[in-house]
């Protein structure tokens, strides 16, 4: 027994106070790495939003119209709506598993600022479900006969907008993570925040195909990104603390 006591003394070294910034950054990086690792091991997390995006976009030529002249007019909106829906579908992964296995409590009890912990989870979530949508969008837009002028705008607006969708969506997920079945209430909370992104983004792409100026659209999207990046993780953290109660 004395051997065991000696062993335990040596492992946890003298309590030193590492510089606060180094700790926060390494905790941030560790959380990011962990979430990416989990997603890599669970392939479905990567594939499902992408598949859903693909399927929904494909439904438009089938269900609305297959006439290229008309498709080209709705292409911008169709791709954006599909991106929004794919984002909402993927939100479930964000805090649910951690809530159920107790990792969320550990996160909330860490001495590091919660803003950075939640931001790390948001970033990894976007890398897994948002960025693939951005990268696949030109291909799907081609399927819907999106005018050539609008491709760059589509990618850029999605690049600016999908993080906002993730960040705002996370607030809704954080509020409802403790509830059993939450599909509808999640949509009710999240949609008012994310529909403006849809409206601005789709309008930007449509205006691009018409050759209209895009400055205001980019400015608004940029502002929404800045706003969500700075405030949404704080709101999510507060919501998580309530949910865990």
């Amino acid at each position: 027994m004395s051997d065991t006591v000696k062993t335990t003394t040596k492992i946890a070294p003298q309590r030193r106070e590492p510089s606060a910034q180094v700790s926060t950054f390494s905790a941030f990086r560790a959380t990011l790495k962990r979430d990416l690792l989990i997603a890599l091991k669970r392939r479905n997390d990567l594939l499902n939003p992408l598949m859903f995006f693909l399927i929904v976009v494909s439904l438009f030529p089938l269900g609305v119209t297959s006439d290229p002249q008309e498709l080209t007019r709705i292409a911008a909106g169709a791709v954006w709506v599909s991106a929004l829906l794919a984002s909402m579908l993927s939100l479930d992964n964000l805090f649910r598993a951690d809530y159920e296995d107790g990792s969320l409590e550990q996160l909330l009890l860490s001495p590091q600022p919660l803003y950075f912990m939640v931001l790390a989870k948001n970033i990894s979530h976007w890398l897994i479900s948002g960025l693939p949508v951005v990268l696949l969008s030109p291909l799907l837009a081609y399927m819907l006969y999106l005018p050539a002028d609008a491709y760059w705008t589509l990618v850029l607006t999605l690049l600016l907008g999908t993080p906002v969708l993730s960040l705002f969506g996370a607030i809704g997920v954080a509020l409802t993570v403790g509830l059993g079945s939450r599909g509808l209430i999640l949509a009710v909370i999240v949609l008012p925040l994310t529909v403006p992104v849809l409206i601005i983004g789709a309008k930007a792409v449509t205006d691009a195909s018409l050759g209209l100026p895009l400055g205001m659209h980019y400015a608004l999207l940029g502002a929404l990104l800045a706003l969500s990046l700075s405030l949404a993780p704080l709101a999510s953290a507060a919501a998580l603390k309530i949910s865990v109660n």
Partner: protein
């Protein structure tokens, strides 16, 4: 590994053991049932406090209130004399909580889980993690996916966190469940060692504790 640490106190300790955690006038109500009212207690350095009570008496709720995970209570909590609400960061830096849901992700390996747990407080090297796993009897399991481990082994992975954490206060909710006889002994030794180095432990368990260190009990049944 030097032997210089084995005798000196791991945490700084004043001659009269200071009160680390204090609760005053704690009141909690759930589902129209008063769990505890005007609860007062204090936990000192070098103490192991076992919270006892029948099922539903509020043990888990009390622990969660102390950690700050549950905010529906009235009363005051102090850490090292300072109200916890005034300085949560210092309290959290000194706290390690292992709850009912053990915080082990089944998809990751033991090593990956512990790397993240450690990083939340201060990162540990892979060698430290290997040593910790060995100390809880899981040598060689570092790179096994937790889903492929038994419940008792997953519990041990969670307990390895105790060895990797610099926290002074351990709050453990039913840590002995799913452990076999050797696991129970290992955990009891860990608790005794921590307490002998100036740490403090608050634990709920139905298990009969057999530890070579002073043990106090707090009973929540009226």
């Amino acid at each position: 590994m030097t032997a210089s640490n084995s005798d000196s106190s791991h945490f700084s300790q004043s001659p009269a053991a200071e009160a680390l955690l204090q609760a005053r006038g704690l009141f909690c109500e759930r589902d129209d049932r008063v769990l505890f009212s005007n609860l007062v207690f204090s936990l000192h350095a070098g103490e192991l406090l076992q919270v006892q009570g029948s099922n539903g008496s509020g043990k888990t709720t009390l622990l969660r209130i102390l950690c700050g995970l549950n905010s529906s209570y009235e009363g005051e909590l102090f850490w090292e004399g300072v109200p916890i609400d005034d300085d949560r960061e210092t309290f959290l830096a000194s706290l390690l909580y292992l709850g009912h849901r053990i915080g082990v992700n089944k998809i990751l390996t033991a090593r990956e889980n512990l790397r993240w747990s450690a990083a939340l407080h201060s990162p540990r090297t892979d060698q430290d993690i290997d040593t910790a796993l060995e100390a809880v009897g899981l040598m060689g399991y570092a790179d096994i996916t937790c889903r492929n481990m038994s419940a008792g082994q997953q519990q041990r992975v969670s307990l390895a966190r105790l060895l990797l954490s610099p926290a002074r206060l351990w709050v453990l909710d039913e840590p002995f469940t799913t452990l076999d006889v050797s696991g129970v002994k290992i955990l009891e030794n860990l608790l005794a060692a921590h307490v002998s180095q100036g740490g403090a432990v608050l634990v709920t368990t139905h298990h009969q504790l057999d530890v070579p260190c002073p043990l106090r009990r707090l009973n929540l049944d009226k």
